[in-house]
Amino acid sequence: MSRWGLVIDLDRCTGCQACVVACKHENNLPFSTPETADVGRLMTWIQLVAADLPGRPMPSSLPLMCQQCDRPPCTDVCPTSATYLNPEGIVAQIYPRCIGCRYCTNACPYAVKIFNWTEPEWPESMAGMRNPDVSARPKGVVEKCTFCHHRLIAARERARVAGRELAPEDYVPACVQICPAEAMTFGDLSDPHSDVAALASGPRAFRWMEELGTQPKVVYLREGE
């Protein structure tokens, strides 16, 4: 069984936010307005935050998305099992099961679970730009980064129809695919020959707030020498 993981090299990352837009378009995240953004209702599954990291002169810009913990604090507290850790290590959110209690959003130390405060809306002319592979979440449920799980489903199907195994390049989340600085590497952590496994066990690798015991599968590579 694969264990999907993502490595973000902070030394390479320029903070250009291409990943943020890629995620927004790929996953049908509705647009905000100044008013909604002002009260924390920006719909983003990945965003740039200023994090104080040891050894850096000023706060680093850190692309922050669901850390896909192996011990997720959010799944334990869900009263309806609407969020759970799937066998491949992706923390999934099942929208039709979610009652919108927002306990998981509060339990998450990374604050990366997003709540649909209102019904998502697109102007009429923009209706077509939504990705038909991904649902538009209704109001009142929590949503989050899924490592573009729909891409995995599609890739696996293509591979099976073609009668071959899933190749590493078949499945890449939108953010990783777009990253112009080539700062993101995605793959199977359980495969010792994969790039992610090598990078994740390298000397620069760290997991953010790992002292909380969350065991994230998003691994950052430290900036600096």
Binding site: G15, L48, M58, I178
Partner: protein, 739 residues
């Protein structure tokens, strides 16, 4: 209730049951219809991909559009394109929103009443073109005639544009984009080579950057991001070190190993200061330099006289030890490189290029190369021309805008509406109600990039010669025209020599002619799979040749299908050859240290020394956030959400102030402040920046904020009003108060 149900009860309850059934059945049908409507948008399935070219800036990235049943749903980089290599920046992806923009013009329109609030009326294409042609014909005879403004693009469409307007007797002005175009003349001045500077960041080991937004959007965004990534952590190479000298804490400063806050107008002094240390400490290969540079002695003398570390330290505020350390660091690594912001002052560009010569970075891996080209035509600067118009020095009868780039440039007029007051007739080709369209009398909307034919010469940042080419990726959504047919229609309506100059009928003609030219040139290749491996193999096997194609037509088809043409042959010795072959290197001799003046992006001549006003003690510098500096549609909600990140102020203009000032004002996270200049005042979010010098603040400027559409309008007032009639390219004195 009585004990036994009465007849009446029976009737009432039967009635209730029937009513309930009717209601329920209605509800059931209604729910069914709701269900159907809800499912509608995803009732699609056939996925295709089309190549196109990103036109959000001049980098010319090849893009790949994902279409589902012909409707675009996502834009990625074209994996075959040597510039994008399958990657793309935030702006490029947001072009998807331009296509769907609910506030796009539906078709041609003309203004009903001049002055006052804009009122528009749709006009059939024929009438709109006739109206424009009539005004153009009449204007041809007037003194200042017609002024035509466009972004400084190169390629067949730009040539067609030039040809038509030249024939119409118009004066052409171009908005220089932040590209190598400005660096090129200084490189020629230094080396005599007619070439675009190519900075090999990727392979350098140490980059000293004078304000170059390497991590934001330098020269060619996606190329710069990739170069930065590989410079930092390239395959099997050591980590590159970056020192950023910047007036504000840009994203690059944030990523740098060291950030020195030095105002842009003091940066040349620092560069020359470092150069003088190199001479003083004999870290310069004088022998080699003397063989190519005629005025080395003069240069050295000048530097050692004026730019002693002490002088530079007192001028820039950078401690002497730091200057010494920087000079030593620079030559202590194997492949150092000095880079500079493309729009920097002449003095700074000169200083930076000279430094590169001193450290031996010319034509060296990880250094500075030149990419030869035909001499570029000198082009009028649109921002300056429009300022002349706005201030009445130039009085054209017709003003034509291809786009709004000139009105967004920091050097352009701050109040576009004055142009409408001065010029009797304004024409815009913009597909959006942007700044230019807002003042236009007639709008002839062109297609948006996804609907267009493309063939363009990208801003030079890459060594290879690349021409991205593409057919429209999507169907035209609204009643718009491509630039080629627009020009053709206008030319026909004007008639005479203008019509004669027009040898095409549409952009398709122009692009196909360009592809044909490429095919007959017998060099280069269509974009090929796994660009890098192929390139490497070809180079290793002794050179590059045109890939065999059965015919020119087949070659052209492959160019269109793959998204472009590339000739990766790269002469890595061009600058050296120029020195050897022609005139010798001549260092631009630095002037004596300028006296202290207010900080700002002042370009040489503009930088008049003004005593600081006690009412307005803070020098405000304008900057355009990389994510919002679009040349096309400004109404892109996804980009507005990126503003002010990672500082947590999305959707807002923000002012960066130093911690000292922030302390005084009591600015914590998410505080609004009011900026007041002699001309206007503005409320913005304040962002506190550790290490920003006192007395300086930096204000973000987002283009198109007032006119361009529903989201754009939410950003608010145009910050450039603070500058009055001064171009926002220079510092402005303001006072900051907490609200």
């Amino acid at each position: 209730m009585s004990d036994a149900p009465s007849r009446r009860d029976f009737l009432v309850y039967s009635g209730a049951a029937i009513a309930g059934v009717t209601l329920g059945e209605t509800g059931r049908r209604w729910l069914g219809r709701m269900d159907e409507r809800a499912a509608g948008w995803r009732d699609r399935g056939i996925e295709t991909f089309a190549v196109s070219v990103c036109r959000e800036c001049l980098a010319g990235c090849g893009i790949r559009v994902r279409l589902v049943d012909g409707v675009p749903v996502k834009i990625d980089g074209n994996p075959l394109c040597p510039i994008a290599r399958g990657r793309l920046c935030a702006k490029g992806q947001a072009a998807l929103e331009s296509y769907f923009d609910p506030d796009r013009l539906l078709g041609p329109a003309h203004r009903i009443a001049r002055g006052g609030p804009a009122r528009w009326e749709p006009l059939p294409w024929k009438d709109a073109v006739a109206l424009a042609a009539d005004k153009i014909t009449r204007a041809a005879g007037t003194p200042d005639g017609i002024v035509v403004v466009a972004a400084d693009e190169r390629g067949p469409e730009a040539e067609a544009w030039t040809r038509v307007w030249r024939a119409a007797g118009a004066r052409l002005a171009w908005t220089p984009q932040p590209t190598a175009v400005r660096l090129r003349p200084r490189l020629r001045h230094l080396t005599g080579a007619e070439a675009d500077p190519i900075f090999d960041i990727e392979h350098s080991s140490y980059v000293l950057s004078f304000g170059a937004p390497l991590a934001d959007d330098w020269l060619s965004g996606v190329w710069a991001q990739r170069s930065f990534g590989r410079f930092r952590r390239g395959v099997a190479s050591s980590r590159g070190r970056l020192v950023q000298i910047d007036g504000r804490r840009s994203a690059t400063a944030r990523k740098a190993d060291e950030w020195l806050a030095v105002a842009p107008d003091q940066q040349s002094a620092l560069a020359y200061g470092i150069a003088s240390v190199l001479f003083r400490e004999n870290r310069v290969d004088r022998e080699r330099l003397a063989s190519v540079a005629g005025n080395l002695g003069n240069f050295e003398h000048q530097l050692l006289t004026y730019y002693t570390p002490d002088n530079v330290a007192s001028e820039t505020g950078v401690p002497v030890v730091t200057i010494l350390r920087m000079a030593r660091e620079l030559v202590a690594t194997p492949r150092p490189l000095v880079i500079v912001e493309a729009g920097a002052s002449v003095a700074l560009v000169d200083a930076v290029l000279s430094l590169n010569v001193l450290i031996g970075a010319i034509d060296r891996r990880g250094g500075l190369f030149g990419r030869g080209d035909d001499p570029l035509p000198e082009r009028d600067d649109a921002a300056a021309v429009l300022r002349d118009v706005a201030e009445g020095r130039l009085r054209p009868s017709v003003l034509v805008f291809a786009d709004s780039s000139a009105l967004r440039a920091l050097g352009g007029p701050n109040r576009p509406e004055t142009l409408a007051e001065r010029v009797p007739f304004v024409i815009s080709f913009s597909p959006y109600v942007d700044e230019a369209a807002a003042i236009a009398d007639v709008i002839l909307p062109a297609d948006v990039p996804l609907e267009r034919w493309h063939a363009m010469v990208p801003a030079a940042a890459l060594g290879a010669e690349v021409i991205p080419v593409a057919a429209p990726a999507v169907k035209r959504r609204l009643d718009t025209r491509d630039t080629g047919s627009l020009l053709h229609a206008l030319a026909v309506a004007i008639g005479g020599p203008v019509e004669a100059a027009c040898s095409w009928t549409s952009s398709e003609d122009l692009v196909r002619a360009e592809v044909k030219r490429l095919a007959t040139a017998k060099r280069g290749t269509p974009f090929v799979t796994t660009y890098e491996t192929e390139w490497m193999q070809q180079l290793e096997s002794g050179g590059w040749w045109a890939q065999a194609a059965d015919s020119d037509a087949a070659f052209s088809d492959r160019v269109l299908a793959s998204g472009g043409w590339v000739d990766p042959y790269f002469d890595a010795g061009q600058l050296t050859e120029a020195l050897r072959g022609g005139r010798s290197l001549s260092f631009p001799l630095p002037e004596a240290l300028p006296s202290a003046q207010i900080a700002g992006r002042a370009t040489g001549a503009d930088a008049a020394a003004e005593p600081p006003d006690t009412r307005f003690p803070i020098a405000l510098v304008a900057f355009q956030p990389a994510v919002a500096a679009t040349s096309g549609n400004a109404n892109l909600p996804a980009l507005f959400e990126l503003l002010g990140q990672p500082d947590g102020v999305p959707w807002s203009l923000w002012v960066e102030i130093g911690s000292e000032l922030a302390e005084r004002l009591g600015v914590q996270a998410r505080t609004r402040v009011r900026l007041t200049s002699a001309h206007a005042s503005l409320d913005v979010m304040a962002v506190r920046v550790e290490g920003m010098p006192a007395g300086v603040a930096a204000l973000s400027i987002v283009p198109g904020a007032q006119t361009a559409g529903r989201w754009s309008r939410l950003i608010g007032k145009d910050p450039r009003r603070l500058w009055g009639n001064d171009p926002a390219a220079r510092a402005c004195a303001v006072q900051i108060a907490r609200i």
